[in-house]
Amino acid sequence: MTTGTDRHRDIAHCSVAGLAAGARLALPGMPIMAVFGVAFGTAAAQNGLTLSEATLMSALVFAGASQFVAAEMWTTSMTAAWVIALGLVTATVNMRFFLMSASLRPWLGTLPAWQTYPALALMTDPGWLLATQYRSRGGSDSAVFLSSGVMLWLTWIAATVPGHALGGIVTDPTRFGLDLVMPCFFVVMLVPLWRGSRAAISWLVSGAVAVLTAQLLPSWWFIMAGVIAGSVTAGVFDE
């Protein structure tokens, strides 16, 4: 493990060897993606999406939380207005990606766009957390970020299909704790990023604001509200 002091020391680059390293980096994320992908396929089938619609959505959108919400809103008598509504809800749920990709600028900002934008197009919560961890260990190869994204993407698509076919076999996923797979993965990813309790003040503010917002506002606004509050806190307080 490296410490916080040598972050940002290495200059970003992109190598073929990084593609293999990225596939390895993605390994702990792939079972998580698989479980979540099967669950999405199931939800899609139960809400009337065809297999091709569900698979296409996984391939093109590749954003689990927003896909679940879209599946719940899905109707077989789709209207143009409803298409716009789905787009707006998707934007709300996925707004955090804006801040997540912003956080990659100090690392990847010096690279040409063709090396960064394809990888950004495949950015997810688990992929971003894995890449952030890789960066905090002193890694600088953008190919690692790209190939870990591709691995998670393929896992996600591959898991959607059996999930749709099985639709409803696992009737109560909470019984097996499957609803907590993502929260557990999130906190686990945070362990290597721990930099002492002082840096965690912003995390605490983020969590508190999110809990409060979840009581007051509908939908997924609580994540954005929490993240902005946490980030601003970190900006205001000197280390």
């Binding site: 702990p28 619609e53 296409l56 093109l60 954003a63 927003s66 896909q67 789709m78 409803w82 298409v83 716009i84 789905l86 787009g87 998707t90 996925n94 707004m95 990606f97 804006f98 801040l99 997540m100 990709s101 912003a102 600028r105 100090p106 900002g109 960064t116 950004l120 197009a121 950015m123 919560d125 957390l129 704790g177 907590l180 797979v181 993502m182 929260p183 557990c184 993965f185 999130f186 906190v187 686990v188 990813m189 362990v191 990023l193 840096a199 965690a200 912003s202 995390w203 503010v205 983020s206 969590g207 999110a210 809990v211 954005m224 929490g226 993240v227 509050a229 946490g230 980030s231 970190a234």
Partner: protein, 101 residues
């Protein structure tokens, strides 16, 4: 447009929206000077995202969820295996629920 076409259109709209958000933050930061303060704000994002996503869910789902994330952190710290952390975390929640917690 038929209803199947509109279903396809919905997926494409979702995809384009999500793509623009995904690259938007990175693109935007090209036009913001990376001061120490901005760097600090960006570095706080991983922890903030996790806290904001997990805490409301943990509170809503109660004791089994709190048990699951606590176990996950402890196992991760001891074993450095993310997968072991997640597996033991959700197993703890499943056991707690089957015991009626």
């Amino acid at each position: 447009m038929s209803e199947a076409d509109l279903g396809l259109a919905a997926i494409v709209v979702m995809a384009i929206t999500t793509f623009l958000i995904r690259v938007g933050g990175f693109w935007f930061m090209a036009h913001v000077p990376l001061t120490t303060r901005v760097r600090r704000m960006l570095e706080a994002l991983p922890g903030s995202v996790v806290a904001a996503a997990v805490l409301p869910i943990a509170i809503k789902s109660g004791i089994p969820a709190v048990l699951a994330v606590s176990m996950a952190v402890l196992v991760m710290r001891a074993s450095r295996s993310a997968l072991a952390g997640v597996l033991i975390g959700i197993t703890a929640a499943a056991l707690a629920r089957s015991a009626g917690v």
